[in-house]
């Protein structure tokens, strides 16, 4: 288990507090990213709920029309891809 070069281990330096300012700034950035990720997750869930609510409030015809539109759009996209090939 200790056949590895001890020199090799030192390639990555894990000494703390060499430059506390920078280290804290880097941590702050990571923390902000986490906060952002959490907020975005909440936002996405919220949007999904809204969309669900909206769909439920539509009448049957409206829903079907929307589905049809979506399916046609999908179909167009697929045809477009075929041509590219």
């Amino acid at each position: 288990w200790d056949d590895d070069d001890l020199v090799e281990v030192k390639i990555v330096d894990d000494t703390d507090d060499l430059d506390p300012e920078t280290e804290r700034a880097a941590w702050k950035l990571r923390e902000l990213k986490r906060v952002k990720r959490e907020r975005e997750a909440i936002e996405t869930a919220e949007k999904e709920r809204e969309e669900l609510e909206r769909r439920r409030n539509l009448s049957r015809e409206e829903r079907e029309a929307e589905d049809k539109e979506f399916l046609e759009l999908q179909k167009e996209e697929r045809e477009g891809k075929g041509k590219m090939g």
């Binding site: 288990w1 703390d16 941590w27 702050k28 923390e31």
Partner: protein
């Protein structure tokens, strides 16, 4: 107390296991079978993990120089070997928390964090590990190809809380934080940035406002709309 046999195979045999359980199974089974097999045949396990207890394990953990799963030809890292030792010893909660919260040996804290993620209940995992998101000590991590990379305690803990696989181990499925919040088991997480974050939020609002003000001018010239369309 756990008895130590030179050959640990009996303990790792799932048939007829009668000891204490964690998550309704033999605790060592929280690691994967191939990993377990590699660990018990590794020199580190046989030589350094034989007949150690909760106290002497600290010496081994303090001597760790990196975290990681398996590397090279799927050689298990000492970090994983010690994790398995912990699963075998099953130290009491107060001991684990002491491992976690001492500040002198960061690799011991990392080891305890990994153990907490594997063995504690979902609510306790969040409550115990989240304070460490404010801990930005550096950790050396061994990658699968045998190289080294730099990570941080908060990064490692964040991985433990959000990822399915960490250090070559499939972690049991942790429910999302939002679900536990909805169940009323957890409070909303307060970022350790605290007031700083509010300041930044306010700054952001300012930026957005100035942008809006800025973009209204080109709109008046009829350029703004064209720009946004070409971007899309």
């Amino acid at each position: 107390m756990t008895t130590h046999a030179a050959d640990a195979r009996r303990f790792f045999d799932s048939r007829g296991y009668t000891g204490l359980q964690i998550h309704n199974q033999n605790p060592v089974h929280l690691l994967e079978k191939p990993t377990r097999d590699r660990i018990i045949t590794s020199y580190y396990w046989q030589e350094q993990c034989f007949a150690i207890n909760e106290a002497t394990l600290c010496d081994r953990a303090a001597a760790l120089t990196f975290i990681g799963g398996t590397y090279g030809q799927q050689k298990p890292s000492p970090f994983l070997c010690l994790t398995m030792k912990l699963l075998q010893l099953m130290p009491g909660r107060d001991i684990v928390l002491e491992y976690l919260n001492q500040t002198e040996f960061k690799y011991l804290s990392a080891l305890a964090a990994f153990y907490v993620r594997l063995t504690f209940d979902s609510k306790d995992v969040f409550q115990t590990l989240e304070p460490l998101l404010a801990d930005y000590r550096k950790l050396r991590r061994r990658t699968r190809d045998g190289g080294y990379s730099l990570t941080y305690m908060d990064q490692f803990v964040d991985d433990l809380l959000t990822k399915d696989r960490v250090c070559g181990t499939s972690l049991w499925k942790l429910p999302q934080r939002t679900i536990l919040e909805d169940l009323g088991q957890l409070e909303t997480r307060e970022s350790p940035l605290g007031e700083e974050l509010d300041d930044i939020d306010n700054d952001d609002d300012d930026v957005v406002e100035t942008r809006r003000r800025g973009s209204s001018t080109p709109n008046a010239h009829g350029n703004g709309v064209d720009c946004s369309e070409s971007e899309g």
